[in-house]
């Protein structure tokens, strides 16, 4: 529940909205999204578990050493980490009301970095196909193609969401709806970053070492 301060303004301990006019139900919306992400995290955890148990079954096909390349994966990691940083600036721009231009600019930059990440991944997938590493070849590759493209799909949806947010910000500025939506989008985006770091460590680094 919200905590009323002496000035009469409502502060919300869970909301990154600074001395804002946070409405009591904003906390509810944010909490609901955290719970949703918990459920989504379980989904990823299970895909990791599937990869852990099937990742050794190469069935005579190519293994991690034959197909993975650390360079592009590291590049993708860099892009995604940078995009989390730019989203962070966007959040701060909203919190400290530094103007719509900075906010929109940072969102655009995040979108570009996200699209860059997606582009590199598409290139990765194409390279894998070139090496004959198709999902139909072995359980290892099936598990790989279940885990990494699920993350890819999430990032794609995140990009669509950024576009939608940029349009809505243009249309109605920063009001209660757009503010909490931006906060949720931020959570989602950073969450995807964390999942990617897990993928990078668990799939690529572990596969190459």
């Amino acid at each position: 529940m919200s905590v009323g301060s002496t000035t009469g303004k409502r502060r919300h301990p869970g909301l990154n909205l600074h001395e804002s006019d946070a409405h009591p139900s904003d906390g509810e919306v944010m909490f609901g999204f955290w719970v949703f992400m918990m459920s989504d995290a379980v989904l990823f955890a299970l895909l990791f578990a599937v990869y852990a148990s099937l990742g050794v079954n190469t069935a005579g096909g190519p293994g991690p050493h034959d197909v993975f390349e650390l360079g592009p994966a590291a590049m993708e990691t860099l892009l995604l980490l940078l995009s989390s940083f730019t989203f962070g600036i966007a959040s701060l721009a909203m919190k400290y009301r530094r103007g719509m231009a900075l906010l929109q600019g940072m969102l655009a930059l995040t979108l570009l970095l996200g699209l860059g990440f997606l582009g590199l991944e598409v290139h990765d997938f194409a390279t894998l196909q070139g090496k004959g590493a198709l999902p139909q070849v072995s359980a290892f590759l099936s598990a790989f193609y279940a885990l990494v493209p699920t993350h890819f799909l999430h990032v794609s949806l995140g990009c669509v969401w950024i576009v939608v947010m940029m349009v809505q910000l243009r249309m109605s500025g920063l009001d209660r709806t757009t503010r909490t939506r931006l906060l949720r989008l931020g959570l989602f985006w950073h969450f995807l970053d964390i999942v990617w770091v897990m993928i990078f460590s668990f799939v690529f680094l572990r596969g190459m070492l």
Binding site: E28, G32, L46, V50, N57, Q136, A139, S142, A146, R181
Partner: protein, 686 residues
């Protein structure tokens, strides 16, 4: 069976050969389904009620209406699944040393639809409906946290159910059971569309359930009335909370299992195949990582219902409230630690089996605590044997028997002996029928007057109860015997003459259960007919204890004219005793409610189109469905909603009318609660 030749670019694999013309039983069922659907649609058209249904029900985001729609869906699906059960029992009683009246293929589809429907489209919608209706009222809230999401969940579940109903006409359904075990459900062994029906129906419902779990958990954490601390919540809300948490954490495992199975089938991948490095045990693990918590998802809300029933009809506070809460939470946690007992015989080491056997037995402890608490709640209470309480008593005895057979099965060596026999079938029906179905039927009997403003006919309720309970014992106790004698489950034919008497007995039990179902339908019809003499407008027919009874029956759409202040457990009971129930407000405030929304029904339709397209490989339909859903959600996010205000005048009118009924009503003592004198005002002094 071979993969059917593509029928054409537009309809994918779908052709006239999908009609179930080869079997008279299947064709008859399809005909009944089509005629039933046409009949209902025709009736609504003739009465000109489509507009009303759309405006007041399908697009409604009121938790009470959504709850009722869930229960209606559950009852329709229950009717189908019960009839399927009867057909299976008759087949086995008939097919002793002969082939019986249905084919093995059809028998396989029957137990698959029966199980899938009972779990995903009967138990889940039923409990979701009851929680939807009751929980917000019990915590003193005006709605759930995300009313539109609630409508979306309902419509996705309904879409899944519709897909199963469609499979009756455009056959076949899966023969892989409700668990869809790979590699049998892989393309190589099940090349038809049956498994695809199962995959997409279950996926639609599991997405709906995940969203429901999130919605309920957030509602309980965030929407409680002032003073309604967690440890003051009615026990039903606690079980709703634990069930929701289980949904949030367990449903993703099902989504992953069905999605990977779909990838195997549609794109030729190798997750669970018997070649290419696939491992079918990964499927078993994923499925039961969901499937075991699932049995607690469906049983916990009933525990909550029974807790309310035993205390209300004993006129006593719940014995051992704290221990019941702790037991509920313990069960929720333990439910994730036992999934492996579903495959004791599939090759893991004895040590692992022993660990999971012990974990399984541990669940008996909190469950035992609950049983003692319920018994002690009745002890020295003034117990009234109303229909809902009768279901509770039948549950108490029957569930303990089922639990004991479960302890037997938790011993791996015993499990080796009886696994895949009808002993197991007897055990889980012995848990789920009293543990889930009896609880839900009791909930329906108990809260029906709240939802519709009149009581259900007591006499027909007792007839239904008698048929169900006797039918249950006759239908399932013989299966224990048959299982111990080695009769395999899921077999379309039987080859031991000695099984005949037991099978006949079981078939007789199934007939009785169907009669019980018919009695429930009759009870509803008779109650609607005699609704005037059963009216309980004031709202408290059973001398209730929690806040849902403090409103009129049915409650106004805003639930509470003023959000109640709660000062302890059994909030309404305390208010009545201290004379603070039914406060008359001198002025009313306007109330903001969410607007109706068409996004739920639209996503349901688009989800159904996507699923149907995927089943029959109709690419354009699946593509349009998915894209449509995406654009619908984006478009919906652009619509600014300000909500709908119920003006203070309207609130005042509604409340004044209710208070007038309150003043006019004569309080009835508890002995007269099943009497026409009962207008829903309990005599507090009695």
């Amino acid at each position: 069976m071979r993969i059917e030749v593509l029928a054409g670019p537009w309809l994918g694999r779908l052709s006239l050969s999908a009609l179930p013309t080869d079997s008279p039983v299947a064709a008859g069922a399809a005909l009944v389904a089509v005629l039933g659907a046409l009949g209902v649609a025709g009736y609504i058209t003739a009465k000109g009620r489509w507009g009303y249904l759309w405006r007041e029900w399908f697009t409604s985001v009121d938790h009470k209406r959504i709850g009722i729609m869930y229960v209606v869906l559950a009852l329709v699906m229950l009717a189908r699944a019960v009839i399927e059960a009867l057909v299976m029992r008759l087949q086995q009683a008939d097919a002793i040393n002969q082939s019986g009246f249905i084919s093995a293929e059809h028998f396989g589809q029957l137990f698959s639809t029966h199980g899938s429907i009972m779990i995903f489209f009967m138990a889940m919608p039923f409990l979701t409906g009851v929680i939807n209706y009751v929980m917000p009222l019990q915590i003193g809230a005006r709605d759930v946290s995300f009313p539109v999401l609630n409508s979306i969940s309902l419509m996705l579940t309904a879409a899944g159910a519709a897909l199963v109903m469609i499979s009756l006409v455009l056959a076949p359904f899966s023969t892989g059971g409700w668990s869809g075990y790979a590699p049998f459900t892989e393309l190589r062994f099940s090349p038809g569309v049956g498994v695809d029906y199962w995959i997409w129906a279950v996926t639609l419902s599991s997405i709906g359930s995940t969203l429901t779990g999130i919605n309920f958990a957030v509602t309980i954490y965030k929407k409680r009335a002032p003073g309604m601390h967690l440890f003051r919540m009615p026990l039903f809300c606690w079980t709703a909370l634990c069930t929701s948490i289980l949904m949030i954490f367990a449903m993703p495992a099902l989504t992953v299992a069905t999605a990977l199975l779909a990838l195997d089938r549609y794109l030729g991948m190798h997750f669970f195949t018997s070649g290419g490095g696939g491992n079918m045990m990964v499927y078993a693990n994923l499925f039961w990582l969901f499937g075991h918590p699932e049995v607690y998802i469906v049983v916990l809300p009933s525990f909550g219902v029974f807790s309310e029933l035993f205390s209300t009809f004993s006129a006593k506070k719940l014995y051992g409230y704290t221990s019941l809460v702790l037991a509920t939470m313990t069960i929720a946690v333990l439910s994730f630690t036992v999934w492996l007992h579903h495959f004791f015989t599939m090759g893991q080491s004895a040590h692992i089996n022993a660990a999971f056997g012990i974990a399984t037995m541990l669940i008996g402890i909190p469950t035992g605590v609950k049983v003692y608490d319920w018994i002690l709640t009745m002890f020295r209470g003034r117990v009234r044997f109303t229909t809902p309480l009768l279901w509770g008593l039948a549950f108490l005895v029957t569930f303990v028997i089922g639990g004991l057979s479960g302890i037997l099965l938790a011993i791996p060596p015993v499990d080796f002996l009886v696994h895949n026999t009808t002993f197991l079938v007897a055990h889980f029906h012995n848990m789920l029928i009293p543990g889930t179905l009896f609880g839900m039927i009791a909930a329906y009997q108990f809260w029906f007057p709240k939802a519709f403003g009149f009581r259900l006919e007591e006499r027909w309720g007792r007839v239904a109860f008698g048929c169900w309970v006797t039918g249950f014992y006759l239908a399932f106790m013989p299966l224990y015997v048959l299982g111990l004698e080695g009769m395999p489950r899921r077999s379309a034919e039987v080859f031991d003459e000695a099984f005949r008497p037991w099978l006949l007995l079981a078939a007789g039990g199934a007939v009785l259960i169907v009669l019980g179902m018919a009695a429930l339908v009759l009870q509803l019809a008779m109650s609607i007919r005699h609704r005037d003499r059963n009216r309980v407008t004031v709202g408290d027919p059973w001398d209730g204890r929690s806040l849902e009874w403090s409103t009129s029956s049915p409650p106004p759409e805003y639930n509470f004219a003023e959000v109640p202040e709660v000062e302890g457990r059994d909030a309404f009971w305390t208010m009545k005793r201290s004379g603070r129930a039914y406060p008359a407000l001198d002025r009313y405030a306007p109330i903001l409610l969410p607007e109706n929304s068409a996004i739920g029904p639209w996503l349901g339709v688009l989800g159904l189109a996507t699923a149907f397209g995927l089943v029959w490989r109709i690419g354009w339909m699946a593509g349009l469905g998915t894209a449509g859903a995406l654009f619908a959600v984006i478009g919906w996010s652009f619509v600014r909603r300000s909500g709908r205000t119920v003006g203070e005048r309207q609130v005042e009118r509604t409340e004044t009318r209710w208070h007038a009924a309150l003043v006019a009503a004569v309080p009835v003592s508890r002995e007269h609660e099943c009497d026409p004198r009962n207008r829903g005002l309990a005599d507090v002094a009695a």
